[in-house]
């Protein structure tokens, strides 16, 4: 090659110094020189920096080389894979590596160096050696794993305790992935009816943006660290290949430091990714994760039921044991009790007889005492009555005596009164008689007939003695009584005499 190049350069230097070329002529010369220098394809190691395919199936790439630190790009070239080649190379590469042919990969490709007057320098890829990429990835993986181990963090997430039944699940997935929907359906509609609370934290799950996107989702979940039981990272439905983003140191490191257990189901059939390696629980697919979660809950329920049954059986056993013991005791006790009872009864009989007798005796005694008391009381009462009676008699006699005394006194008083009255009456009578004699003598002196005989007369009018002139009128008929007869006369004149 070197010889050839030298030949070509010799050829170029042969051009006259002052000749002016058109750009196309110059480019034509370069193209000629290049094609003459690189007659056969060359194996070249490069990193894919850009990769896209157009509609006709051609693949356009940018290949680069970085310095050993990976910081600076030290070489770059455009590259193409024509569609008929790409159609074969792509599946070959991906089935061999389990890795999509994407940006960021280091590849060993067979290229023909080309120069086009209009488009310039480019490499046409004819072949690819996937084992180089595999080796490179493996080396990188080994490096990352070694670094994580050196950091002492590789097993930190595994050391977290998964709750007995993780039910509050933070899910990191692409919301549009079929795998995500299947996962949700599977958990929500699980046959045992376990309740799962799912919350999606959307992220880009492939390519170079995956790292920051997934870390961003984890940071969101971290805000609810106390709420969630576990984080599930799932990926499914898309390409089986592009998993290099899960062989990422930063993402892996972030997971090791995460306070919640991380369960992965990122659809990796072959080797585990580094994220899988550091995750608490590594499962192949979203479906497997769902099954795992349901299984954990089911196991718990089985354990719970088992404990409960075990307990209840134990309780039954204890109870039947206890009741057996009681039966046994009862069996022993019954004859024993009977014996004791008989013995006691034997002791009781004379006692009963004794009690009976003494009770009777006691009653009799009391009866006698009562009778005696009764007699005493009766006697006392009679005595009392007699005394009262005598007392009453005495009172009665006293009363009669004083009554008689009162009467005698009264009688004597009456008698005295009577004698006094009689004396008084006699005196009054003699006095009255004397008075009568005297009055008779007086009356004898005032006898009207004698008075008439002495010349006086009595005039009457209407039967009444006429003592006064005022009660008489002219022509009134008046009677005049005289000694030895009377006159009837009419009043003719009335002389008032004063």
């Amino acid at each position: 090659m070197a010889v050839k190049l030298q030949n070509d350069s010799q050829c170029l230097t042969l051009l006259p110094m002052n000749e002016r070329l058109k750009l196309s002529e110059l480019n034509g010369l370069v193209k000629k020189a290049v094609s003459e220098s690189f007659t056969a394809p060359i194996w070249v190691i490069a990193e894919i920096s850009e990769l896209k395919t157009n509609r006709s199936g051609h693949c356009y790439l940018v290949l680069i080389e970085k310095d050993p630190n990976g910081d600076t790009v030290v070489a770059q070239a455009r590259a193409t894979i024509w569609s008929y080649t790409f159609r074969m190379l792509k599946p070959y590469f991906e089935t061999t590596t389990g890795q999509q042919l994407i940006e960021g990969l280091k590849v060993l490709v067979s290229v023909s160096v080309e120069f086009h007057e209009l488009y310039g320098y480019s490499l046409n890829i004819r072949d690819i050696d996937p084992t180089y990429t595999l080796g490179d990835m493996a080396r990188r993986r080994i490096e990352i794993i070694a670094r994580l181990k050196a950091d002492g963090v590789a097993d930190m997430n595994k050391e977290l305790e998964l709750p007995l039944v993780p039910q509050k699940i933070a899910v990191i997935s692409s919301p549009t992935a079929a795998g995500y929907q299947d996962f949700v359906d599977q958990l929500v509609k699980n046959q045992q009816g376990f309740k799962f609370h799912l919350k999606l934290f959307p992220a880009i799950m492939q390519g170079n943006q995956a790292e920051t996107s997934i870390i961003g989702a984890l940071e969101q979940i971290y805000l609810y660290e106390d709420f969630f039981d576990a984080v599930v990272i799932i990926r499914g439905g898309g390409s089986q290949a592009d998993l290099s983003c899960f062989d990422n140191y930063n993402l892996a490191y972030f997971i090791t430091q995460f306070p919640l257990p991380v369960i992965t189901g990122i659809g990796h059939e072959k080797d585990d990714s580094i994220v899988d390696l550091v995750a608490h629980t590594r499962l192949k697919t979203p479906t497997a994760v769902a099954e795992f979660l349901i299984g954990v809950a089911a196991n718990f329920e089985v354990k719970l039921d088992g404990l409960k049954d075990g307990f209840m059986n134990g309780v039954d056993e204890r109870l039947s044991e206890a009741s057996k013991n009681i039966d046994q005791l009862a069996r022993v006790l019954t004859p024993l009790t009977r014996e004791k009872l008989a013995k006691k009864r034997g002791q009781l009989n004379p006692m009963v007889w004794k009690i009976d007798n003494s009770v009777k005796r006691y009653i009799k005694l009391r009866n006698i005492q009562l009778e005696r008391k009764e007699e005493f009381i009766r006697h006392d009462f009679l005595f009392f009555l007699q005394r009262r009676f005598r007392h009453l008699e005495k009172i009665s006699r006293q009363l009669t005596g004083s009554l008689l005394k009162v009467n005698v006194t009264k009688f004597e008083q009456l008698e005295r009164k009577w004698q006094r009255t009689e004396k008084l009456a006699r005196k009054k009578t003699s006095e009255s008689r004397h008075y009568l004699d005297l009055s008779f003598q007086v009356a004898m002196l005032t006898d009207p007939y004698k008075i008439l005989a002495r010349g006086y007369s009595i005039t009457t009018f209407g039967g009444h003695a006429l003592k006064n002139i005022e009660n008489i009128d002219i022509n009134a008929v008046i009677h005049t009584r005289l000694s030895k007869g009377s006159l009837i006369s009419e009043v003719k004149i009335i002389n008032l005499e004063n």
Binding site: P163, V165, K195, K199, K308, F311
Partner: protein, 67 residues
Amino acid sequence: MGKKNLSYKEAITEIEEILGQLENNELDVDELSEKVKRVSVLVTLCKEKLHNTEQEIDKILKEMDNN
């Protein structure tokens, strides 16, 4: 008595403890009824938690959506 917030672990631990006492004949027959009640409460709490929606959790999840 257990609250709603009793964790599965606490529940299982307590049931295992009671079962252990039973198996080691540390339980008096008179205590059995009380322990049976307790175990049944714990089992029921776990079953409810396994199968039923907890409103509080739904509330928190809804709040997350609003943030």
